[in-house]
Amino acid sequence: MESVGSIILYVVVAAAIIIFSVLAVTTRKILRAATYLLFTLFSTAVVYFMLDYQFLGAVQIAVYAGGIVVLFVFAILLTSHPGHSSERLASSRVALGLIASLAMLAVAAYSLFTRCTLFNAAPELTPEQAVDMNKIGTAILGTGDGQYLLPFEAISVLLLACIIGGIVVARKR
């Protein structure tokens, strides 16, 4: 049995996710779309907090909201006029998009609702099960079973390559 506060929080967060997602893809002003994306990402971070993954929520806010969206805003400012709204979409294209997304929604929702295990409440975490910083740090830098040093290193190299690639691609000739 959840507390009333968390239910209210859930309702607010779920509504925010749905509304801002829809707005992010339907607004005709590109800068607003980036803003709605930011709100969606924040809401996602709240979901992570609600599910007891505090570290993940923090990363979500720091990397996504703090890094990626800022990048978006810069790119938008570089490539288009902020106040400019794009022209109205052709209805055939809207229809195509709607067909694909609604079909996706139908198939996925149908398969979700036919899985009874998804109707369980979240089990309470014992203190050992709680995911604290200590455990995460050990897992990332360990080489044992269920530990992730190798992916971590791979990601580091990938990021480095990405930085170099970004510079090379975008630099002025």
Partner: protein, 644 residues
């Protein structure tokens, strides 16, 4: 006899061919010509040596007084299975020794003559290379120890004939003539090959000596098998004769020979008068003991020969091109030889005449080779002088070209059968043999002989007498020494060759045999020849309108003769209308529309399908995503539905 000399006889022309063919372009015309002539001269000496040794050395005559057939060497070339292999070797017997003499003599004369005749022609070295190739092939043909070796060289002479007819390959008529000769003889050779296969299937051998020394065994080995009412042996012999018909231009396969005159004139003298065209006669003569076993086959030989002889003679009476006249004359004379071989087998019940025709045929082959080569080389000299093939451009040439005139006259007298020239003796023997077989054939052939005398003297008078043809540019004159020398030599041979006691050298059973002249037959044939010549003299000696009157009196006959009885048109009709029109065109239609159509349909379906789906490849990544998502969803939906 050691096998070195025979090997050299074959090796020298072959080497000369390879050398002149490969290195010819580096040599000057003169070097190439002299080299080829010298090579042929050496071969001539060696061949004479071989022939004289064979004919005069007593070691080649056995106790029974027969000349032996000796295989000087015989090498297995293709081993088929234990009992059957194809050999290449050198067989010497009376006819091959005689042919060695004929071929090398004529070939040498032609080599010598061509030095003058072909002077300055483009491709002079190539010409000599081909002549050497031809000489090699022809020599290989006559000394073949087995029928398959003969077939191999048979094809080689066909190929070299093709090359030489088409020597002036920039002239469309020469090209088509060479193709015609090749294709017609190729059809005939198919028959020859089938005949060889049938015969060897039953007898299990290709060897000439094995077959001819015991022809009853050949007959027995077929085991009395029949096919469509005729015995297998008859079929085999007729099929082999078909090959001979093609090479020797017997009706109805004669159509290539008149066109083959597109080649250089010395080539006509060598190949299409003296040597290659008698290969068919030689083939029948080689298989003669086997032919003797089958009366049906020899009858066919006689009938075809007699018809061809008459046909060619009457056509020769109207031709305008002097080389065509000589070509038809050649067909007619070869038909004489064929008839003679055909009538030789039965002998009409008279022991005296048994095999007379064989001897007469070979005798005529020998004399004909000499005087016909002479006539052709003479014609070459005429053409060289006036630069035209038609008698209308000649006329009254006797004053300008005395050597050519006299030698040509000797050739004409020889072919007309006037004693003491060589043609008289051989033709008389043939007529005797024909009368012995059937008086009708005898009379028929006498008539053909009369026609021969007539058309030859028609030609002679039209060219050397008649009305003098005025040349504006130059006066014709006699040919240079290299061309006159062969003429004089061959004329001399044509005069004396009749006195050779041929029966002592070449007979069917290789026993010596004395020739008797039957003076009734000889006298009548001389009389009729003289009458024919007189008639020709009346018509053509001075310019008059008798020929035109004759032409008016018999317009149809004249037209038919002039157009060679429309044989070529018949062939064109059969090939174009019937074979091409009724067989090839539907096949081509089927090929083009059904077989190609199916393949084209695959291609065009692929093409259209790719055209139709090309817009999908729009380059718009959003469309790709859309298609991908829809596909994934379909798969997902199917999975979900199936899992329930």
């Amino acid at each position: 006899m050691s096998p070195i000399i025979p090997l050299l006889i074959l090796a020298i022309p072959l080497t000369m061919f390879l050398f002149l063919g490969i290195a010819g372009c580096k040599l000057s015309h003169k070097t190439a010509g002299v080299l080829g002539t010298l090579g042929m001269g050496t071969t001539l000496v060696l061949a004479y040596l071989t022939a004289f040794t064979y004919f005069f050395d007593p070691q080649f005559i056995n106790e029974a007084g027969e000349r032996i057939q000796q295989v000087l060497f015989d090498q297995t070339w293709l081993h088929l299975y234990d009992n059957l292999s194809i050999n290449l070797g050198f067989l010497i017997d009376p006819i091959s020794a005689m042919m060695l003499v004929v071929i090398t003599t004529i070939s040498f004369m032609v080599h010598l003559y061509s030095l003058g005749y072909m002077h300055g022609e483009k491709g002079f070295q190539r010409y000599y290379a081909f002549l050497s190739l031809f000489s090699f092939s022809m020599l290989g043909l006559v000394v073949a120890t087995n029928i398959f070796q003969m077939y191999i060289f048979w094809e080689l002479v066909g190929a070299s004939s093709y090359l030489l007819i088409g020597f002036f390959y920039t002239k469309p008529s020469a090209v088509s003539a060479s193709k015609k000769a090749f294709i017609v003889t190729r059809f005939a050779d198919l028959g020859f090959l089938m005949g060889i296969l049938v015969l060897s299937y039953y007898t299990g051998t290709f060897d000439f000596i094995r077959m001819t020394s015991d022809p009853t065994w050949v007959l027995a080995s077929t085991g009395g098998a029949t096919f469509m009412g005729c015995s297998v042996l008859t079929w085999a012999l007729v099929l082999i004769f078909t090959g001979g018909m093609g090479k020797s231009a017997m009706m109805p396969l004669h159509i290539w020979l008149p066109d083959a005159m597109e080649g250089p004139t010395p080539v006509s003298a060598l190949i299409h008068a003296a040597t290659m065209v008698v290969a068919g006669v030689f083939l029948v003569a080689r298989m003669f003991p086997v032919y003797m076993m089958e009366e049906a086959a020899t009858t066919i030989v006689v009938v075809i020969g007699a018809l061809t002889a008459f046909y060619a003679a009457i056509v020769a009476c109207t031709q305008i091109d002097i080389k065509r006249v000589l070509a038809f004359s050649t067909i007619s004379q070869i038909a004489f030889m064929m008839v003679s071989l055909g009538v030789a087998s039965a002998g009409g019940g008279q022991v005296e005449h048994h095999g007379l025709g064989y001897m007469a045929s070979m005798f005529h082959l020998f004399t004909h080779a000499m005087f016909k080569a002479l006539l052709f080389l003479g014609a070459g000299a005429l053409i060289h002088a006036v630069h035209s093939n038609d008698y209308t451009a000649m006329g009254g040439l006797r004053k300008y070209m005395p050597i050519t005139h006299w030698t040509f006259l000797i050739g004409c007298l020889a072919i007309a059968g006037i004693p003491p020239f060589s043609g008289f003796f051989s033709k008389d023997e043939i007529l005797s043999a024909c009368y012995a077989w059937s008086p009708f054939v005898g009379v028929w052939m006498t008539m053909v002989a009369a026609l021969t005398a007539f058309y030859m003297f028609r030609l002679y008078f039209l060219v050397f007498h008649w009305e003098e043809h005025k040349c504006e540019h130059h006066t014709p004159h006699d040919a240079p020494i290299t061309m006159s020398l062969p003429l004089i030599f061959l004329a001399a041979v044509s005069i004396v060759a009749g006195f050779i006691p041929f029966g002592h050298f070449v007979t069917w059973n290789r026993e010596a045999y004395d020739i008797h002249l039957d003076w009734t037959i000889a006298g009548s044939s001389i009389l009729i020849a003289v009458l024919a010549i007189a008639f020709a003299w009346k018509m053509y000696y001075r310019k008059n309108d008798l020929p035109a009157k004759f032409r008016k009196a018999l317009p149809n006959l004249w037209d038919w003769c002039l157009h060679r009885f429309y044989w070529d048109e018949l062939y064109i009709f059969i090939t174009h209308k019937i074979i091409f029109g009724l067989v090839c065109r539907p096949l081509a239609w089927f090929d083009r529309h059904i077989i190609d159509g199916t393949m084209d349909a695959f291609a065009s379906i692929t093409n259209r399908a790719s055209d139709a789906i090309k817009p999908l490849q729009s380059g718009q990544v959003q469309m790709y995503v859309w298609v991908y998502v829809i596909g994934t969803l379909l798969l997902g939906a199917i999975t979900v539905i199936c899992l329930i």
